[in-house]
């Protein structure tokens, strides 16, 4: 993945967040790219926020987050950057559902994603997105500043969107082609999709109606 990023995005800074892996990821990654090894496993939200803090402290104009499991082809990063240049928005989401080809996830996941997108669209009418759970996103300085200060630690993508929208940040979307996961497995398995939906929708509701939250 890192070699692919280096080929696709020459001259860009890359940062790997190793969230306490035990499979030698750190040793492999640090030879190719700056790598922050989390001293304890914090989960996706804590790991992503660490990367965002790094971007803020190094004065990045924008940053793009992608998963390390091979789902997000580095060749698609250029589409996010181009979309930002065409029409700058604080968050540009790479949507697998606007794209004709590629991996589109399972039907229940698509339904869940559509439900979350629907809830976001109703509660925040300025946000009409198709893939609020996508982990492939571009963040500009305003989003970096906001998420560096606070970021959800569980199921962060849709919840952080609601937080950003409440703060008046703009959100856009661009079609990207995703791949099936190459490594690892999703953490949202078994009964967790139900907990996921409940938690995400509740947090979105709280974000919309409770000004003091979080």
């Amino acid at each position: 993945l890192l070699d692919e990023i280096a080929r696709q995005c020459p001259g860009d800074s890359t940062l790997v967040i190793d969230d306490g892996s035990s499979d030698g990821t750190y040793q492999v990654a640090r030879g190719r790219s700056p790598t922050v090894r989390m001293l304890r496993n914090l989960g996706i939200g804590g790991a992503i926020q660490t990367g965002i803090k790094y971007a803020e402290r190094n004065d990045f104009d924008f940053c793009v987050q992608i998963d390390g499991d091979g789902q997000h082809p580095p060749s698609e990063i250029a589409k996010l950057v181009q979309a930002y240049r065409d029409q700058p928005r604080s968050i540009i989401i790479g949507s697998r559902y606007l794209s004709d080809g590629g991996f589109n996830s399972t039907l229940p996941r698509r339904a869940g994603s559509a439900a979350i997108a629907g809830a976001l669209g109703i509660l925040f009418p300025q946000c009409q997105v198709s893939d609020p759970t996508s982990g492939m996103r571009l963040l500009d300085r305003a989003a970096i500043r906001l998420f560096s200060a606070r970021y959800p630690h569980d199921y962060p993508e849709p919840i952080s969107l609601a937080w950003a929208l409440r703060e008046g940040l703009s959100v856009g979307e661009v079609p990207v082609t995703m791949r099936a996961r190459v490594h690892g497995q999703s953490s949202i398995i078994g009964w967790k999709p139900l907990a996921y939906m409940f938690r995400v929708l509740s947090y979105i509701l709280l974000a919309r109606f409770m000004r003091f939250y979080p």
Partner: protein, 120 residues
């Protein structure tokens, strides 16, 4: 008028004294804070009050409008318990958040010490 059996009085008095002393010692050693001492002491003080003043249960039952007097006592104990659990939950979440922040800051610090980045 209701009276309490002397054996019960002695047993409750021993329990209450031991428990209050135990929590006071823990507070003195800073294993509990003063707020915890006050809340936890209610576990001894409330039953002791009901034991040593038997008419208290009937009076409270009339005030609260419950048929069974000890519902009032258990209600008070549950209220104390819920306040205590609520406080613990808030404290736990704050600790969790602080812990997460510290791990992030330490990890970033370790990264900058281990390998000063040529980037950006």
């Amino acid at each position: 008028m209701a009276t309490t059996n002397p054996h019960t009085l002695i047993a409750v008095a021993i329990f209450a004294s031991w428990y209050l002393l135990h929590t006071a010692i823990k507070t003195g050693r800073q294993q509990l804070d003063l707020y915890d001492l006050a809340m936890l002491s209610m576990v001894a003080i409330i039953p002791a009050a009901f034991t040593f003043i038997p008419s208290l249960a009937d009076r409270l039952a009339r005030i609260f409008g419950v048929a069974f007097p000890f519902v009032a006592m258990f209600g008070m104990l549950f209220a104390i318990l819920f306040i205590f659990v609520h406080r613990l939950t808030v404290k736990l979440h704050r600790l969790e958040r602080d812990n997460r922040l510290l791990i992030q800051e330490l990890s970033l610090l370790k990264h900058s010490l281990d390998r000063p980045d040529p980037q950006p």
